[in-house]
């Protein structure tokens, strides 16, 4: 049994992350608390920074120096990190950001929400870039997707976010994680671009400033090509009971768990309902949603917000199906009964 937030922290250790920089904010404090205790045991460095701004920049420095490194935060803290995240993307540096959402805007509240889907999947900071974004729906996935986030972040040299919420962060579930591997046994890519001192090679540079004529256009297209490759090779989703479905629900994260209970109730009444759950929310599983919607021409999107992912669903479906939306923002939770009622409305 493990808490969701701790599963993220343990996932990082299993991925070979030995550096963490962060600043306290509810509801993600279990992550720094766990790592402040566990990282020193594996020879790692835990540093509580003076702010989220400082912590994302410490992450940038450690990443440029070649290390696997993580930070974590929530709402206002992630907003503060956005300049640094943009610099990571611009400098083509990896780095993992664990995001346990809280309600916004402003200081908002600390209950579970999916109001940050838009911020996370749209890049979030300035410039023409995206962050890789994975959305777990169980404690097991908090662990495994954190590990995957490190691999993808290194593979694409681009920041990666694991997006969860207070439900997932606080939830305790059995997990299978195995023994902590020794650092030497963890498979990590070589980083010939890292700043290690110019010993036996030419001096290297990590930067995001390109002032030469047309240089930035080339750089932006280079990033674009990376995101296209990411879409092709690393889009993740789960399909449940879609084979015979007349209605497809699209839902992610903790919300999809409540949706599953609603689907069970609907199935008991003979309603053929299935679920498509995006696991990577950037890249969004456009292709999968489009294909599924060709056969099932009714789609219901359920989110804990006023309607954010539904826009990606609409673009993916491209008018091949009717897209309905049910949302509960600001900490409201859709109960299985609410979901059943919505299913009946659009079925």
């Amino acid at each position: 049994m493990m808490k969701g937030a701790e599963a993220i922290a343990e996932g990082a250790i299993h991925a070979g992350c030995r550096f963490y920089f962060g600043y306290p904010i509810t509801p993600q404090n279990d992550i720094p608390e766990y790592l402040s205790r566990e990282l020193p045991k594996v020879g790692g460095t835990f540093l509580q920074a003076e702010s989220e701004v400082a912590s994302i920049n410490m992450l940038l420095g450690a990443s440029a120096a070649g290390a696997r490194v993580m930070t974590s935060s929530s709402g206002p803290g992630i907003s503060l990190k956005q300049e640094g995240i943009s610099y990571l993307a611009g400098s083509e540096l990896p780095g993992v950001i664990a995001y346990v959402s809280r309600i916004g805007p402003g200081l908002g509240g600390i209950a579970a929400t999916q109001g940050d889907y838009k911020q996370v999947t749209a890049g979030g900071g300035h410039g023409d870039y995206y962050t890789i974004a994975l959305a777990p729906s169980s404690v097991q996935e908090m662990f495994s997707l954190t590990k995957l986030a490190f691999d993808l972040s290194d593979k694409y040299r681009n920041p990666a976010i694991v997006l969860a919420d207070a439900i997932l962060g606080q939830m305790k579930e059995p997990v299978e994680i195995g023994e902590r591997p020794a650092l030497e046994d963890i498979e990590m890519p070589e980083k010939p671009w890292a700043l290690t001192g110019a010993e036996g090679r030419d001096a290297q540079l990590v930067k995001s400033l390109f002032l030469g004529d047309g240089e930035m256009e080339v750089q932006n297209w280079k990033l674009y090509d990376k995101y296209e490759k990411l879409k092709k090779e690393d889009t993740y989703y789960e399909e449940l009971q879609l084979e015979d479905a007349r209605l497809m629900i699209v839902s992610f994260g903790s919300c999809s768990r409540m949706v599953l209970s609603g689907i069970e109730m609907a199935r008991a009444e003979g309603l053929k309902v299935g679920l498509l759950r995006p696991i990577s929310i950037y890249p969004f599983p456009e292709e999968a949603v489009r294909k599924a919607s060709e056969a099932i021409n009714k789609v219901l999107v359920i989110e804990m917000n006023t309607g954010q992912m539904v826009k990606d669903v609409k673009v993916s479906v491209d008018r091949a199906a009717d897209v309905h939306f049910y949302g509960r923002p600001g900490g409201g939770l859709p109960t299985p009964d609410d979901i059943l009622a919505e299913i009946k409305k659009v079925y």
């Binding site: 003076e50 920049n57 410490m58 440029a64 120096a65 640094g84 400098s91 110019a198």
Partner: protein, 258 residues
């Protein structure tokens, strides 16, 4: 027998090995070039070119990497001390330094600076104080002197509303984490010699793991001061040094923080 070797003049001035053979883009009379050269000399003196990582702040010094032949990371504006913390934590045996202007270090990045100093990060911070935002066109900086006219203090900086110029070296010297704090200038040959010594000392103390080392370098920005180089140097002497006194403010002799 040849007398060649004997007759050859002794080399007293030359380009440091770590300094690339390219011309600086700085304006005439700008002291950034002097400071770059001193940094390269310090790196050569200790033979640490291959284990030095520089962190360039955003300002006229951002192109550090075009001139000094070492690994360089470009930090976002103000954050160099945070980047340097990350680099130095990953490579504790390397020499890590930041190169920052007064807007970068004393305005937007003051929190990162103070906390890196307070943690006693094993980094060297080179702080080029020219009393203006050079790169963006000469706006008011936290170090702009009272009465000084800049593009955003057209009537002269006033205490009421704009505050007093910040003395970074004095502030940082009060922190337990700082091992070495000095303020130097580049306006006279004598001051340049003292500046070189201070920068070398700062690197040496970092290499000796003494803690955070900080050198504030009073510098001329003739372009944004609207002066020629000679007048700008005079201003450093007559206006800056009286307010920002030169000297070593703090020097730890042993790792007594342990």
């Amino acid at each position: 027998m040849t007398t060649e070797a004997k007759d050859k003049p002794k080399k007293v001035y030359g380009r440091p090995e770590s300094l690339k053979d390219v011309g600086f883009h700085f304006c005439p009379g700008c002291n950034h070039g002097n400071v770059h050269k001193m940094v390269a000399e310090a790196i050569d003196e200790f033979g640490v070119r291959e284990k030095t990582i520089g962190v360039a702040g955003v300002g006229c010094g951002v192109f550090l990497y075009n001139y000094i032949d070492i690994d360089v990371l470009e930090a976002p504006h103000g954050r160099a001390c945070a980047e340097a913390t990350g680099v130095s934590r990953v490579h504790p045996d390397h020499v890590v330094f930041t190169y920052q202007g007064d807007g970068d270090l004393a305005a937007i990045g003051i929190a990162e600076t103070i906390h890196a100093a307070n943690r006693g990060e094993h980094i060297t911070v080179l702080f080029v104080n020219n009393t203006v935002y050079g790169m963006t066109g000469g706006q008011m900086a936290p170090t702009t002197l009272l009465g000084q006219k800049t593009t955003t203090s057209p009537y002269g900086r006033e205490f009421m509303g704009e505050g007093y110029p910040i003395k970074m070296a004095e502030m940082l010297a009060t922190l337990e984490g700082t091992a070495f704090v000095a303020r130097v200038a580049c306006n006279t040959p004598k001051n340049i010699m003292a500046a070189k010594r201070a920068i070398k000392k700062a690197f040496k103390m970092q290499i000796d793991k003494m803690g955070f080392t900080f050198v504030e370098i009073l510098s001329a920005c003739p372009t944004n001061w609207g002066m020629d180089a000679v007048t700008a140097n005079k201003r450093v002497e007559e206006e800056m040094i009286p307010y920002f006194p030169l000297g070593i403010l703090k020097e730890r002799t042993t790792a007594d923080y342990l």
